[in-house]
Amino acid sequence: MSGSGSVQVRDLWVDLKEFHLRQINLEIAAGEYFVILGPTGAGKTVFLETIAGLHQPHQGHILLNGADVTDVPPERRGIGFVYQDYALFPHLSVAGNIAFGLKLRRMGRKAVEERVAAISRLLSIDHLLHRMPGTLSGGEQQRVALARALVVEPWLLLLDEPLSALDPETREGLQRELARLHQALGTTTIHVTHDFEEAVALGDRIGVVNEGRVVQVGSPEEIFRKPGSEFVARFVGVRNIFRGEIHPGEDGYRVLSLDGVKIAVVTDLVGQMHASIRPEDIIISREPLRSSARNCFQGRIVNIANKGTVVYVTVRVPPDFTCVITRRSLEEMELREGLEVYIAFKASAVHIF
């Protein structure tokens, strides 16, 4: 039911008291889910607000569907906005909040009611329509904020840390909901977050920002496999991130298969999912280990990266797993590139998202 537009940002500079954006250039395709990833205070919110027309850029242009909207006021841009803490109108009911934008369009009462009902069903909040925002849980409030933004069928949806204020369980649910909504509506979306896994799970592409600049743009895979700078590498961290198919296994475990390797995992999810394993959760040994760890693979060391007191050892099974050990362990075990070793990790150490 929504439209979808392309976004081009050309040489954008914004100067505000606390935040500055410097020379931002971005091309976002129609229907794309683009994630802006960066630390707190990197100017992510200012960037979204500038695209929405709430700040006037110092220099540069914003194009929506090829048309320059740099001087168009926010109310005529057709851009939906969702804030981290929802920003629901406290004096209006849930229905009043969702209908806010429709009523401004001088739509008939009946049409307004129908559209509100349709979007509420899509977001499973149709039972909340008569409640006041203050009485809702965080997850419910965020669904209302999404409904309010989507019901006017924006060209572009801007999400400012939409999941950060939620507890972990609600966050996972709403994250899947965002993916589902994007599939169903196809609205071009720019989603701002500081959470790397959230970015990987949702983004078609990721733009990493730091100190008001875009430092790298690429697919999630590119960002964590080939970080373009020291900052990106440090912000993303060294991780083992995979994408694979999850299906039911035996003994209550589920099995994630990737590159022909079957990994035991603990999760309720099935289908194409991401998995991450922290390097410090992987044990490396020269002999096959008898331990409680469900996952044990043989592989060959392809890289040893010395980081002072700790050492990152990459073992190709394939896929490549990176583990972290102390320098002392490295010396005691006499590890070197090309050596055949065993790695082991618990099924519960695999985070599925």
Partner: protein, 263 residues
């Protein structure tokens, strides 16, 4: 909550505080109880008294209305904008609270007097300030607008600017955003400020008496009766004024109380 008299210090504080409360309540209570209801009723039937009370209400209402029209926009700007010299504007708003009100009356006379520039300009339009209702309105406006502007500003400051931003992205122009989001959310503060201002206007004596002794507002009438005929004649009028202002004040507290309950 801990009991009031939990320790010695609190007991002493409570005694000291009660002295002040007594100081306010006793004279008021004495005045109110000194006149019999029959006497009050007769006073109310006195045309001069009735006219002056109605004039007081009316003039203060007009002053509040004027402050509302110009003061709410000003309050909004002060709540939302940062600009060089803002402290000066905020200071000017508060000045009427600190200057002696008779001095305020003199100051107004310098501008709205018969021979002053604005006085003459309005004179050409047939509007007279000295010894006329517009003068009373001007005096009340001057001494009480701070209450409305400050309350409205606090009300707008409590409205999250992001609510306004969301409204803009949903298609609302700046005007509509103001009327549909900012104003309704600040309304209770604005209303309580307006009631406060109106009540303050009702009780104004110093500035009014210098601009317009006649027509007489209630506080001036009260003063005149006291000066000419003494306490016995002034008292029923005083009682009436106190009762009316108390009623207004109770209404104000109810409005403010409901605001607290909502937040």
């Amino acid at each position: 909550m801990k009991p009031l008299f939990a320790d010695k210090m609190r007991t002493i504080f409570a005694i000291l505080g009660s002295l002040l409360i007594l100081f306010i309540a006793w004279p008021l209570l004495r005045t109110v109880t000194a006149s019999s209801p029959v006497l009050l009723w007769q006073t109310l039937l006195d045309e001069e008294v009735r006219d002056s009370i109605l004039l007081t209400f009316y003039a203060s209402l007009v002053a509040t209305g004027l402050a509302f029209i110009c003061g709410v926009p000003l309050a909004y700007l002060l709540a939302r904008l940062d600009f060089p010299g803002k402290w000066l504007i905020e200071g000017i708003i508060d000045v009427p609270i600190v200057v002696p009100h008779s001095a305020a009356g003199i100051a107004l006379l310098m501008v709205f007097g018969r021979r002053a520039l604005l006085g003459r300009a309005f004179g050409l339009l047939g509007v007279k300030f000295v010894s006329a209702t517009p003068g009373i309105v001007a005096a009340m406006l001057f001494v009480s607008l701070s209450f409305l502007v400050n309350a409205a500003r606090e009300g707008f400051e409590a409205v999250d600017p992001r609510l306004e931003r969301v409204a803009r992205t949903l298609g609302a122009s700046p005007w509509r955003t103001f009327w549909r989001v900012s104003f309704p959310l600040a309304w209770r503060s604005i209303l309580s400020g307006a009631i406060m201002m109106w009540a303050r206007g009702l009780s104004e004596f110093g500035a009014v008496v210098i601009l317009a002794y006649h027509p007489m507002v209630a506080p001036v009438l009260l003063y005149e009766r006291f000066e000419s005929f003494g306490l016995r004649y002034a008292r029923p009028v005083a009682t009436l004024m106190i009762l009316i202002c108390l009623a207004v004040f109770v209404a104000l507290r109810m409005v403010a109380g409901r605001k607290g309950a909502r937040g």
